[in-house]
């Protein structure tokens, strides 16, 4: 089932992901890291279901482990020396901590990017680009139209060539590669020659006239406005905390955590809400439906 947040206006989607990804990159304090990571993981699981686990174990964990191990090996800053490497460089507590934080940050950012890739479908990008990059957003739409067409045509060409005994089938890598290149070559000619008709069709429908508008099915309605203001407020608070040093952490030369002041506490309460916003919206919608159904 499609989640609730995906159905919001693309502007809301993009603003959210831009904000959360930037904050995940910048907030290296363990408290915030944990929430960035968990929020990303939970939303990713919601979006992909069981398929998400494969991504986590085969892709995410190894990369996080690498970041955690490599940091102390190659970064020797910090004052608390724990041991010396065979090449004589020190291993410091600070760099181990930074490595752990970097691994967490890495994981969170990758998860949020993956969510962003699922939610921000191509038509949302085309819509968002449409106003400021009209030609390039059209180009994107055209390329997306051509790709499945070319993949299908490659199959047709491959079968035609097989009729002549020259397909990509057969044994040996060399024969396969030669067949593949032959198909690519035929596909290129076909694509370029047929594209001229596409250009004619664009011209026939007035492409190139000044003052082109861009149409979309998306509408920024009341629901989008409310969520947009909420997320802007939350993100602003987090950035303010970051700028004021309340949410930050310093690793080098020695680890320094900010003091606990009322504003720090406030931000610590608000940031998790931002991280779990998509899931909160989803749950709210679910509740609403249960309520409607119970009244029937």
């Amino acid at each position: 089932m499609r989640d609730a947040f995906s159905s919001y206006h693309p502007t809301v989607n993009l603003a959210y992901f831009a904000g959360i990804i930037l904050l995940s990159m910048l907030l290296l304090h363990p408290y915030f890291l944990v929430f960035s990571f968990l929020g990303g993981l939970a939303y990713f699981l919601r979006l992909r279901g069981r398929g998400a686990l494969r991504f986590c174990f085969l892709f995410l964990l190894p990369l996080m482990a690498a970041a955690a191990v490599l940091n102390p090996l190659f970064n020797h800053a910090g004052v608390t020396i724990l041991a010396y490497l065979p090449d004589g460089n020190p291993v410091t507590l600070e760099s181990i901590c930074y490595g752990a934080a970097a691994a967490g940050m890495f994981g969170a950012v990758l998860l949020w990017f993956a969510c962003c890739g699922d939610v921000m479908t191509s038509d949302k990008w085309i819509y968002l680009f449409g106003r400021i990059f009209p030609a390039q957003s059209l180009l994107l739409s055209m390329a997306l139209r051509f790709i499945p067409r070319y993949q299908m045509q490659a199959g047709v060409i491959s079968r035609s060539q097989a009729c002549l005994g020259r397909g990509a089938t057969g044994k040996g890598i060399l024969r396969k590669a030669r067949g593949g290149l032959r198909i690519l070559s035929i596909l290129t000619t076909w694509a370029l020659e047929n594209a001229i008709e596409t250009a004619d069709s664009m011209k026939a429908r007035g492409y190139g006239l000044p003052g082109r508008t861009s149409f979309s099915l998306f509408r920024f309605d009341g629901r989008d406005r409310i969520v947009f203001f909420i997320l802007m407020g939350l993100a602003a608070a987090a950035f303010w905390g970051l700028a004021a040093g309340a949410a930050g952490i310093r690793f080098f030369p020695s680890i320094h955590l900010p003091e606990t002041t009322p504003s720090v506490v406030a931000i610590r309460i608000l940031y998790p809400v931002l991280c779990f916003l998509p899931l909160i919206l989803d749950a709210a919608e679910e509740l609403q439906w249960t309520y409607i159904r119970s009244r029937l």
Binding site: L28, L110, Q136, L184, T188, A199
Partner: protein, 241 residues
């Protein structure tokens, strides 16, 4: 009625470009230096990459590309993405860089950049978006842009050998170099030469395969592809490169 200037759009594009160069870029550097501490290198560089992509995009829009130009760029982009998924079983063995270079050589650096950047972006939809997407867009785009610029300057010739040399070097140094640099910036608090070296050593095999595959594809594809593109340009009276 006919030549109605598209006032607001053009003006707003110019404003955006000016804002980025005059305000946003310096502000980002300052904010990075004063506010961000340990994350400044990655953060500032990532934003700079995004600014560069936006500025390039604005410059392209300003030219108001014609329908045929746009269609050819879309065809080349789709071919390179489709080519990339055709060879999905062999990691790093892809015709993308080769097609981007050919696009730059035949259709000019701007189209080359566009084809490269768009291929990087669309690949993200098929193979997963990540923090590497903007860097990938910049690298592929840069390879195409440079190819076009060098041909225009007369430094790079359109024959098979020079294209293969350029292709190998640019994929290895430009693409491999910048992508590895990006991963170092992402992982480490600051740039140290040991970390960079280690990352290059780890990525050596990947980058080598990538460079060799580009050389291979250019060796096989460059001549017929350039002929085909030239034929289309002649047949339909397209612009000179």
């Amino acid at each position: 009625m006919q030549m109605q200037p598209s006032g607001p759009d053009r003006k707003s594009r110019r404003t955006v470009a000016a804002t980025i160069t005059a305000v946003l870029a310096p502000a980002t550097v300052l904010a990075g230096v004063f506010l961000l501490g340990d994350r400044k290198y990655y953060f500032v560089s990532l934003l700079m990459v995004l600014y560069a992509l936006i500025l390039f995009g604005l410059a392209f829009e300003r030219r108001r590309p014609q329908a045929r130009e746009l269609v050819i760029a879309a065809v080349l982009t789709a071919l390179s993405v489709a080519g990339r998924s055709a060879f999905f079983m062999l990691p790093q063995f892809k015709p993308v860089a080769a097609i981007v270079i050919i696009a730059g050589v035949c259709m000019g650096g701007e189209t080359g950049f566009l084809v490269g950047a768009l291929t990087g972006f669309i690949s993200g939809f098929l193979f997963g978006q990540g923090p590497w997407t903007p860097w990938q867009m910049l690298c592929f785009g840069g390879i195409g842009l440079l190819a076009g610029a060098l041909v225009r300057q007369g430094i790079l010739r359109r024959d098979r050998l020079s294209l293969c040399i350029y292709g190998g070097l640019s994929t290895f140094l430009l693409y491999g170099g910048v992508m590895d640099l990006a991963s170092v910036l992402m992982t480490f608090p600051r740039l140290t030469w040991q970390a960079l070296l280690a990352s290059y050593a780890a990525g050596l095999w990947f980058n080598l395969v990538h460079a060799l595959s580009t050389v291979f594809f250019l060796f096989v594809l460059s001549k017929p592809m350039i002929e085909k593109l030239d034929r289309i340009k002649v047949k339909y009276g397209l612009m000179e490169p």
